[in-house]
């Protein structure tokens, strides 16, 4: 199983986690990651997330598929928002389910590294004193080499 959603509306990460967990049979471990809009020194008014609609879903499916080939996962969920977000909003979540915990942990970590640098999203921070695109970091690129 595998669920991929790209949406501009908010979602309830807790409800998604419960739905995901209840759908499993045979899984002993569920790991989730939620990414949250951090306020930048109190100056963030909102965050704008642009994406490449024709490519996004296929890219996320490919990343999820890569994870499924590397670890014994019974399920993968990816939800990613785009559009207008406010500080403390949940930007995205991933969840992984597996029989044993090591697979679920490694896969969630892997998904995040690849989502960060290989899924076509771009973040722009609108601060009190102007707007700027968030830069990718060398660290993000280096993280991919772990896998």
């Amino acid at each position: 199983m595998m669920g991929i959603r790209v949406q501009d509306t908010a979602f309830d990460a807790g409800a998604e986690l419960n739905t995901f967990t209840e759908a499993q049979s045979g899984a002993g471990a569920v790991v989730s990651f939620s990414g949250i809009v951090r306020d930048v020194d109190g100056g963030l008014e909102h965050m704008e997330i642009e994406h490449y609609p024709a490519m996004t879903k296929a890219a996320l499916e490919q990343i999820a598929q890569d994870a499924r080939e590397r670890w014994a996962l019974s399920d993968v969920l990816i939800i990613h928002r785009f559009g207008h977000l406010r500080p403390r909003d949940v930007i995205m979540m991933v969840a992984t389910a597996s029989k044993h915990r090591a697979d679920a942990f490694a896969a969630a970590d892997f998904l995040m590294d690849f989502l960060k640098s290989r899924a076509p999203f771009w973040k722009k921070e609108h601060l009190n004193d102007g707007a700027s695109w968030v830069s990718a970091t060398d660290q993000d690129e280096a993280a991919l080499k772990r896998w």
Binding site: G35, E50, Y52, A54, M55, A58, A59, H80, I91, M92, M112, L115, K116, S117, R118, A119, P120, F121, W122, K123, K124, W133, V134, S135, A136, D140, E141
Partner: protein
Amino acid sequence: MIDVLYFAWVRERIGLPKEQIETQAKTVAELVSELVEREERYAVAFSDLSSLRCAVDQELVEFDAPITAAREVAFFPPMTGG
């Protein structure tokens, strides 16, 4: 005719999200060279290719990728998802 898409600050510098281009370019890099010669705003947007990424028909590729059979080429900065 090929669809060329721009995202994030590439879109802002070029001033539009998408355009149709008549080109004989055989690779992404050749397309970039053509665009750079067209107008200053392209030269600015493409001044440092190491800070850009590209996709051909929605697949991430290197700048030497062929585009002779492509319908869509996209240019954008390194992605910042998650």
